[in-house]
Symmetry: C2
Subunit: 123 residues, 2 copies
């Protein structure tokens, strides 16, 4: 039964990731940085940390809700494989500098947004 909650969350999360990434990439089509993936990853990192912090410090969510919303939906909303593929594609296209900027910004902004979500969840 747990797997059904995770899978349903994954179904929604993957569709949201695709739709939002596509929308963002259409808004910034000539850019060298894949803003779509960057944005969903940073937003997802923030929301997951906020949710987990709330569940630790303030609200007793059901296990099913955490599996659906956290593990399934937010897990699938963000992606590591596309992030890495975009990074090596930029290296392949001789954009080593942009690849390094993309990786650095993703990690630094990801850590900060996750930490901010965590702090906000317990405050």
């Amino acid at each position: 039964m747990n797997l059904l909650y995770i899978g349903t969350g994954g179904f929604i999360g993957a569709i949201l990731r695709y739709s939002i990434s596509k929308f963002i990439n259409q808004k910034f089509p000539f850019s060298s940085i894949p803003y779509g993936t960057l944005l969903v990853n940073i937003i997802g990192a923030f929301i997951l940390a906020y949710l987990m912090s709330l569940s630790i410090h303030k609200i007793e969510f059901s296990k099913e809700f955490i599996l659906f919303f956290g593990t399934g939906m937010l897990g699938a909303f963000t992606t590591f494989s596309t992030f890495m593929y975009e990074s090596i594609s930029m290296i392949e296209n001789n954009n080593l500098l942009f690849s390094a900027i993309y990786v650095s910004v993703s990690i630094i902004a990801g850590i900060f947004s996750s930490y901010f979500g965590y702090i906000l969840g317990r405050s």
Copy 2:
């Protein structure tokens, strides 16, 4: 219709991520590094890059297959939000060194596995 392919892939990918991460974390329960997430992220990065490289250089996959298997399944199989949450949890628990190791190893191994998948797909 595209969204259905992506969602179905996301359903399967999220369940696989949870099941494999859980299995790995049970095998290494006393470790400081979250090997479960690390492993799925590196495996997913490799397979996505291999798939995309094959589709560029060798095999004409249908758009639906790429949406289902690449965007949906492999996108949801790997995760950035959990990766970031685990990293800041380690900082919160005063394991700054392990957090730095976890982030560095994830990125370095992710880039290498993605690049290896890409090279293998066109060789």
